[in-house]
Symmetry: C3
Subunit: 307 residues, 3 copies
């Protein structure tokens, strides 16, 4: 894949080879440090929705490469939205920066922005649609911990209906030769259009409401938040959420080398008593997000793999 | 003019030669890149009013020169205002920074600040008074597009009564040998004190309410926003605003090399169908703002033209 | 004391020698400039309470050393607080940064954070407990102005009951051979537990309600804000606050080389007519805060005194 000067809008533009180019380059950065110096270049972080972690992760990645960052956060963005269209805003910002990172509540916002500017646009989340740099971070974490993706038993658990992270992740995962377990309460099952999509791919898909009976077979357990607001009946929530709380007792039945992931922030899906276990990988996963973004910025703005 | 270590408070301190020193230096930066490295220097962006564009433009300029920026934006500034005088705030910030950029709702704020600190102060807008770096950006854009300012027919159109940008611009323009057309609804005519001022200068001043009959003669059309709030009667606004909407149809009657400018953000003064035309220069104008600010920072903090 | 890689949580961890190591290193930076280049390193400024000055002071210090800063300010922090524990937040941020600066409304927050992360944590204020970098700034200012701390007559005046700055300062001051005058209205006297603590140390402690009779004997007058809200009866406040307003008339009776300090912001404790006098040292004191923080960052992140 060609990365230099390119946009990163959707995981659907990534071939399997393209994914591994990014993961391998991230691993090289992790082991050997950055390869290019982006000093003199300016990255614009345009966040039209609050998102401290993603914003700081991009900012850190650019700064660790020697580059500079300018930011519009959600507070200032709200005053901009009143006055001008997104198309105008991104064209103004293009006059300042060498690349744009865009988080926006509207699906398709990054794609639209990319049509209006010549500089690279990276999608940092567009509504409930995609969040490709989070997905690459997740894939990198799995691959780094296990040395492979093919052949793994991977469970994605929690709110599979509303979570953008989940949508973005299961599609590329389904292209691998994996057993993919989709674990959620009936009210929060994955949407049928996504399920139909991924069923056409390589992975074997299994749906379930409970984790207990599966925990002994799983290599990767990817937990996500279940929000009380999704349930009309609070009792219903209590019943359900209880069965998704990960604690030492549940993990007693797990494989010795189980890897536990979570996109964070967590509420009470994972008991803090688990943090000390070898399985707990969510803080590394978060830190890997910086490495993946450094890799992308080196490839997109630094042209590092273009030789 | 001496720039090294100097304040930039008002266009009235600029001789015509001083203006061209800045424009020429900006052009050199545009063609050859920065000449000095401001690394180790810190610029403080003090914005007591919201202003994303001007703030990011200064920030980008300083960072492209290798310098660092610290910022107080309007959200944080409001909590400061409660606690201490502007004179105290700028003296504290002087202890951190090598130069101050100040946007403040009160007329004369930058001038006052400059009396209290030893480091250079740049006015980034003081109430409805002045905004000299915007003015230099506008003059640079005209000069860069046309190769000259003398001899041009320049129309400034829209709200000429309340717009700070307009006040700041027409005064230096009137010192050139230009035909200056002031086009506004009667309710939003330029204030008589400014009109009297500029009538004493070199330019020929013409007032009008309509653009249609003039469009064929104009070299530069500088449009600004007309805000509905300025009109007691909404019907009055509708009538007026309609006659200031720039679209392809209006521009059919224009000179082939007309340049269309706007300080942005626009609301609906300029139809987006115009964006693709060669005349459309407002995004370049915005980007020129970074170049002008780089030029000023090189001259003021970097002493670049002092040899 | 070992500084490289260490936390700075409380003044109680500082030996007198440790204090002087920091002050001497700050003085060296003031005279000779920075000794290390922290480029490539990232400092995270985590401010869960508004604090423009302290935040910008750390940011400036890191940037003047060539390092980079990422920030969470109180606006964004409030949205984080809803979603996750401080222990989770600091572990996520540790994945981005090489050191954390933490301001938090809860006493003990910095200490708790330091238990959860491996990177250095610097306390930038934890509730009404400690603010050690302010204290080191104050000690540095005294020592720099007077060449010593032992042997001085030092008055701390104003609200001695609620001010965090005062608590943090009088404890280390009491370890020196000084006369320490504690001047406050009866309602705002220093808390008995702190008074008992410092009475055990080397300093001679004197309590008073008035400054006038003492002004001729004092070398350092450290004024702090008295807030009207502390008084049930506004007349009581008026009476009291009047006797703590420092003006030229009061200073007529002072030693010729009196040094007047204030942690800023001031309200009306110090009449601006005093700003021009040689005694006025509060803006220098504020600027010294950058130097002290540069010294600490060089020692903690740059390992500068470890040879």
């Amino acid at each position: 894949m060609k990365f230099s000067g390119s946009d990163v809008i959707s995981m659907q533009e990534f071939s399997k080879e393209g994914v591994f180019e990014v993961l391998s380059h991230a691993q090289r950065i992790k082991e050997e440090g950055p390869r290019v110096d982006l000093s003199g270049l300016v990255l614009a972080n345009l966040f039209f929705e609050p998102s401290t972690r993603t914003k700081l992760s991009f900012e850190t990645a650019m700064k660790r490469l020697g580059g500079e960052v300018i930011s519009i956060d959600s507070v200032r963005a709200s005053s901009i939205k009143k006055g001008e269209t997104l198309a105008d805003t991104v064209r103004v910002i293009e006059g300042y920066a060498d690349g744009l990172v865009l988080r926006h509540p509207k699906e398709g916002a990054a794609k639209m922005a990319a049509r209006f500017v010549d500089c690279p646009v990276i999608n940092a989340g567009d509504g409930s649609n995609e969040h490709p740099t989070q997905t690459l971070t997740d894939l990198y974490t799995i691959w780094r911990e296990k040395g492979r993706i093919d052949g793994l038993n991977i469970a994605v658990m929690g709110d599979l209906k509303y979570g953008r992270t989940v949508h973005s992740l299961v599609i590329p995962l389904s292209m691998f030769d994996v057993n993919l377990f989709l674990i959620s309460p009936p009210q929060l099952e994955i949407r049928s259009e996504i399920l139909n999509d991924i069923k056409r791919n390589k992975a074997d898909i299994h749906k379930s409401s409970f984790i207990e009976s599966l925990i002994g077979d799983i290599d990767i357990l990817y937990a996500t938040r279940i929000q009380e607001e999704r349930f009309a009946d609070p009792n219903e929530y209590e019943k359900v959420s209880g069965s998704y709380k990960i604690d030492k007792k549940l993990l007693n039945g797990a494989k010795k080398d189980l890897i536990l992931m979570h996109p964070l922030p967590r509420v009470d899906e994972i008991n803090p008593e688990v943090d000390q276990l070898d399985a707990a990988c969510y803080f590394e996963q978060s830190a890997n997000g910086v490495t993946i973004r450094m890799a992308l910025l080196e490839m997109i703005l630094g042209g590092v793999l273009d030789e």
